[in-house]
Symmetry: D4
Subunit: 251 residues, 8 copies
Amino acid sequence: MTPTDPFSDLAAALSGELNSSETAGVRIDASRRHRTGAPEVIYGKGKSAEQISVAIRRLIAVEGRALAARIDADQAATVELALGGEPIELDFDPVGRTLIARAPDRRPPSTGGRVGLISAGSSDRPQLSEAAAILFEMGCETRSVHDVGVAGLHRLVAPLRQMSTFDPDALVVAAGMDGVLPGVISGLVAIPVVALPTSTGYGFGGEGVGALTTMLQACAPGIAVVNIDNGIGAGVMAGLIANRAAAQRSS
Amino acid sequence: MTPTDPFSDLAAALSGELNSSETAGVRIDASRRHRTGAPEVIYGKGKSAEQISVAIRRLIAVEGRALAARIDADQAATVELALGGEPIELDFDPVGRTLIARAPDRRPPSTGGRVGLISAGSSDRPQLSEAAAILFEMGCETRSVHDVGVAGLHRLVAPLRQMSTFDPDALVVAAGMDGVLPGVISGLVAIPVVALPTSTGYGFGGEGVGALTTMLQACAPGIAVVNIDNGIGAGVMAGLIANRAAAQRSS
Amino acid sequence: MTPTDPFSDLAAALSGELNSSETAGVRIDASRRHRTGAPEVIYGKGKSAEQISVAIRRLIAVEGRALAARIDADQAATVELALGGEPIELDFDPVGRTLIARAPDRRPPSTGGRVGLISAGSSDRPQLSEAAAILFEMGCETRSVHDVGVAGLHRLVAPLRQMSTFDPDALVVAAGMDGVLPGVISGLVAIPVVALPTSTGYGFGGEGVGALTTMLQACAPGIAVVNIDNGIGAGVMAGLIANRAAAQRSS
Amino acid sequence: MTPTDPFSDLAAALSGELNSSETAGVRIDASRRHRTGAPEVIYGKGKSAEQISVAIRRLIAVEGRALAARIDADQAATVELALGGEPIELDFDPVGRTLIARAPDRRPPSTGGRVGLISAGSSDRPQLSEAAAILFEMGCETRSVHDVGVAGLHRLVAPLRQMSTFDPDALVVAAGMDGVLPGVISGLVAIPVVALPTSTGYGFGGEGVGALTTMLQACAPGIAVVNIDNGIGAGVMAGLIANRAAAQRSS
Amino acid sequence: MTPTDPFSDLAAALSGELNSSETAGVRIDASRRHRTGAPEVIYGKGKSAEQISVAIRRLIAVEGRALAARIDADQAATVELALGGEPIELDFDPVGRTLIARAPDRRPPSTGGRVGLISAGSSDRPQLSEAAAILFEMGCETRSVHDVGVAGLHRLVAPLRQMSTFDPDALVVAAGMDGVLPGVISGLVAIPVVALPTSTGYGFGGEGVGALTTMLQACAPGIAVVNIDNGIGAGVMAGLIANRAAAQRSS
Amino acid sequence: MTPTDPFSDLAAALSGELNSSETAGVRIDASRRHRTGAPEVIYGKGKSAEQISVAIRRLIAVEGRALAARIDADQAATVELALGGEPIELDFDPVGRTLIARAPDRRPPSTGGRVGLISAGSSDRPQLSEAAAILFEMGCETRSVHDVGVAGLHRLVAPLRQMSTFDPDALVVAAGMDGVLPGVISGLVAIPVVALPTSTGYGFGGEGVGALTTMLQACAPGIAVVNIDNGIGAGVMAGLIANRAAAQRSS
Amino acid sequence: MTPTDPFSDLAAALSGELNSSETAGVRIDASRRHRTGAPEVIYGKGKSAEQISVAIRRLIAVEGRALAARIDADQAATVELALGGEPIELDFDPVGRTLIARAPDRRPPSTGGRVGLISAGSSDRPQLSEAAAILFEMGCETRSVHDVGVAGLHRLVAPLRQMSTFDPDALVVAAGMDGVLPGVISGLVAIPVVALPTSTGYGFGGEGVGALTTMLQACAPGIAVVNIDNGIGAGVMAGLIANRAAAQRSS
Amino acid sequence: MTPTDPFSDLAAALSGELNSSETAGVRIDASRRHRTGAPEVIYGKGKSAEQISVAIRRLIAVEGRALAARIDADQAATVELALGGEPIELDFDPVGRTLIARAPDRRPPSTGGRVGLISAGSSDRPQLSEAAAILFEMGCETRSVHDVGVAGLHRLVAPLRQMSTFDPDALVVAAGMDGVLPGVISGLVAIPVVALPTSTGYGFGGEGVGALTTMLQACAPGIAVVNIDNGIGAGVMAGLIANRAAAQRSS
């Protein structure tokens, strides 16, 4: 496998071969998946339905699929209306607040990468759903277990053993409140852990700040952190790790 | 046992019976042990050797013993010189940085209260030593285990089982860095846990702030927190709990 | 009284005897009361009525009772509908925002533990009500006084004297704004004080941060703190202290 | 008494009558006492001995006296050397770290204003000494009591009653740690309280931040706050209050 | 004028002469005005209309007047209904969000104290209105000028000169955003300045934190600060200063 | 070109020639454009429609034009009603939330200053629109490019080259999230960059704090920062730079 | 390859087979490498030379090698003395402040994992050296480039192209100040990036906080963060990723 | 004047024409002055004398001059020794802590740009000296006035009028403590103000944070901010503004 030149897009832009036009204030990075291993994701918060629709159409044209995150039910409905007559299938997940658009029956290729998803509490599921959505787009297989927080350590036993038999290349572990779970798991397994703090919690250190701090201070190494509620970021990091491992398996 | 009037000292002061004179800027609260269950502690930081000596002499006169905390080696040596010819025995603990003064062979009465002391890392020992010193003054029996942090959960097993056979009335659990240990223990036992964050740790959430936050956000209830490095505070809280229980046993 | 092995549940899980199944993303810790001295509490915030109902049914099956906290009036009404035909009695407290569910006439056993509840201002009552609810589930007797803040110290006299005749094993003292009350009380009595900062207050140090800071910096030892508005946490800590003392009385 | 035009100095500067020359980077505000009721204070921290000496000479020339604050022993010694042969008397207070310079036997006029100074702990004395120094320069009479913190409320009784017989026009109340004292006193007396947080304390809310927060959140009104360790600021505020009252007495 | 014993209420409570009963969780401090120079203020936020009405009735019985702050239009309307048939006149100020209740035509006695009120921007008026309301209850005369912020220094000239001819005993200066005005005024006049930061402003240092910081760091002494938006606190502090001066005038 | 006396307005106010009257709590600074190079802007947030209308009328009388910022659609509609019959044309921009009022066909004079406006993401457009509005009032020509964030560096190439041919005197570069764009551009061009952090972003460092921090820590000099979302401030700074350069060109 | 049971050590401890004794307050986790894929690291800060020597001896006995981090020159010299006559070779790196101890000529096995190390500035080298040390212990091959910060983007071109030909499984990218580099690189390559903020920088957001924030807010996904200056943590995370990939290559 | 392609260096690097070699971990950006209008500055903090000497030699070779900032006296002396026999003249400024190196008698070309430098207090001089040093390297003429803080507004009159006759293209205004000066000046003149907060100040908002906040919240627009103590950054921003204006004058 020949490594790509990291600067090929930049060189193409400098020579004028590659251009990025702007529509409704949106400038799509069409070659992002090729360059960085993950497709561009449309960040829905604060965008108009028109902007989201424009972005979806352009990504569909290039990739056949598009993923929009942080989409609320109203935005989803309006985008559905806007794209009504077009050959685009839409799938809205109200838990993870993601919207998948695809040319008819277009599935992402499967890479063979494997990522385990673990939540400390039932309120951490939306963030894991967001991570699962981008992992699917990146071609990874995922497995999830929920509500295995450390207040009752024994609840972690069976789920983590099952997860272990799945033999994941990476774990995403989401936790709010005291954010203890990723560090405890990192002390039990030899798998890279992507820690995902969630905005669950109240009072001092609430809104995820306490969880983030705990994860940054974790005594057990083998753990790295993304920002609070950043399910996409956790998914892409874990997906890159898993796809790297999968590429070695298949080569 | 008849409950004391919480306001007896205040009433005595209002009627002029109880007065608190000031020497070298120090005003001793001689009735504190009787009123609150714990003797006054001399906080050494920033005090001159003269001020510490004055306070020691006055407490010895009332209680026969005195405990000074946050004493460095220089202060200890100077106080030793100052009190040289007097019938006061001094005992300096360089780890916990406490200085015990006592009239010859004067021991605190034993209450029968039992407190377990647990540290997550070897760098949390000074704070536990400070807690142990005040617990001794309050008449409690203590037992300690060290370096049982959660990065290797199995290391906690034997020490906590031993601690359990000691049947403590309360636990003081000290931890720095991610401060995870008190919450994990609180999820395993039916004993009140006084969580003591220590200023171990660096970077974001360092100096004990991350540990404090974790403890405040702990998912497992049955835990309450004192300020960072406040070994005296943790000890007094645990000592009050243990002495309350011990008083019921003996009554 | 033989101390329990803290790791019995964990050992049972490792040997496969104890399993924790997941329904609707919820995994109940059925043995928590036995292990930690306090029953599991359903944290209602962000949970669907279905999730709350599932959790109630499962806890009722094990314990005969269930306590849900942070429940708003809408959630309470929907849960009432969902559990309509079942032999479960529901009791919603709109002040403390707790919902008690019980198999017909099932009361928690009385332990004889005694906890005093004191608020600095009338706006701190919801948090004390939450604490009272869990203390009732833990079998403790409680007594409450309200609005005895230090802006008029004399208002504290009669209530604290009455409280003293109740001879409590522990106090929960709630305060917002400057959070001064727990420290002042701790300087007057020989009873362990669980300090409960509340999110009353505005401007710099508002939302309970100022109160929390004051309690952590309290000059009078014999006080430990839970997170802002954490009535459940304060209640469980005080309940463990009181039940420990009560167990000694009765043994 | 005719009120002064607040803009007289500014108008004089605009018309060119009043000029402020710069020596060694120092530009003295010679008319400050007349305009604002308090003389200019030389802030010593980070200034060279030469800069301090220049400032002293210029203020002596105008006012006959000069006060420098935040002066350490080394600076004091060097300034003493620099001003050696000149008819300037120097008085260094190592506790409050102030340096008074005066033309021989030049005393500030007495105004009759009365300010009470109260400290919560013995480590708050330096800040009160700084306040006392500027109050002396402003012509006020002061009285001080120390170490009357609220951990033993009865210790406050006699000192505050004595203070009350002094009949002060204003109080400066200094406290570190939890910073509770100013609010408690404000709830007991009808005198304006200038609250002075000090950098005593450690851990969360240490370095005076907890004390500052408590004072800003104080439930008892009749209190206003200056910055941490700002003894000069507290003194000037109290001095203006007292001198205003004294001016009414004498008019 | 004989100074009062600061502890008279406390002594009365200890001897059982003074008692504070609780109704609907509210415990009125009826002797506060006598003790501290300012009447108790009902803090409306989070209180039910019933609680507010109870408090009003009890204060009217003692003082003939009552002031409630932080009252929104809905609360005002409900309280008006609740007190409908009673001989209580109500006056709601929607700008300052204060509600005055009084026995028919009952005015507070006039003390002769004078306080000037100055705002930096037009959005700082509500806080000054709150201050003006309590100052009226304390018997002070007030004068106000608005929108004299330092972005155009010349706009300050005429208003401050007019204020100067009013010869106030104290100033309350309110400012949001950069909070510069109190310090600038303090450098121009010899009157104590109570600085009142307001929650105007956005971005970093918004919500009043920037204004508070500026006031605490003010280079010009003669200024002390209350919490963000604390109009009552600023008013009471200024009122105590002014009433002290006025008492000297009249004696 | 003779430099103006910076104090001419102040001198005029001191001599009584220049006065600033207050209407509905609003005090217009009519000479601001002459003195500071930028007209006064009406900050709409929290102002009533009446206050905004008063300010518009007074600015129109002096300048022929008025710009109000932070105006929402409701305010715009109400002001339109209020000014209905008057010879004032209104133009509301719902993206930048600015409202322009002008005497019929009154355009600001053109200065020849040139400012380039660049956004990192499509959600940063409102802030740039606000900047563009004040730049138009200051007589500058502007050019904008959008959505050129550094996640795909090649997207920056063509837009920045086009911007370069416009030969701007200054750039305003807006970015939220990690706020990286201004520093990267500053390392590529010899033009002063005014960095405008926007409140896009979530979690730790969200609401623009992360962007602000990045810009303050930028390794590439040639960049200065305004507050989060302060489009007016960024526009005025860039406009002053551009108009200074343009004045040199035309002289 | 059969996945290991994550709980094997815990089960062994519960059955009493595995015990962890304590010497001088240190409790070694001898099976950590087997369980988590990385050996235990001795954290030197605040440990005595005796504690470090004890830990080294015990790790040498188990693993043949030991790595201590955060060791200053004094500690290194004292440990060298203490272990003088023993068959242990020591290698101290004053830049990365790591101390390697090994039984004679004992090298870690090579795994074939490849990790690239990139620094933004020359002051970020110590942290990268720490990461390189643990990567060597984990059997990975590393390659480093330095001082390629984004203030001159062109300086990144050649080093990143060279890095690309090394075909690393993971990158560790260290940056202080604005912390921009990891995000820019993440937008150019399809390799997981472990971002390592360093405590370079001053003023607001200094000490690494600004860099950490930027990395958490990074627009380009494919990046996860460790705590400020945590070279060991970054190394272990990258090593786990690389060793996972290498294991697939060799299987 | 034809605008330069912002990407010329990048394109040259991509084609391999421009390379940046690394010596002792230092990678010089030799074309920075041409590209960005300001020469590279050597940041001395934490660099060895060898690294500084290498950087000086390489910059001298390209530019004939080199500027190093944040150099303490020890570093200066060691570098002087290291470069002893070479034809490089060194000039160390102990106030601004800058070290200028130049090939014999090599002066930067004069651009005709004019920048005014103003400090609020005498302790802000080092930061202004740093700014002056880089402005000299950029070819600008500077004029400075000191200690004109707003505590005595009249002191600002004469210095600002003198500054005005200098007719500067930009101002750098440095202030610590409350940081008020830049905003006040910005309200008086039509010149772009680069605000430079300094780390003068103590207590809450000390170390420059209060000054920074004030400047970001400034009510008077026409001001932009650099990081605390960043004299180089303030100088480069002002120099770019001035040189842009000067280029228009001369063209």
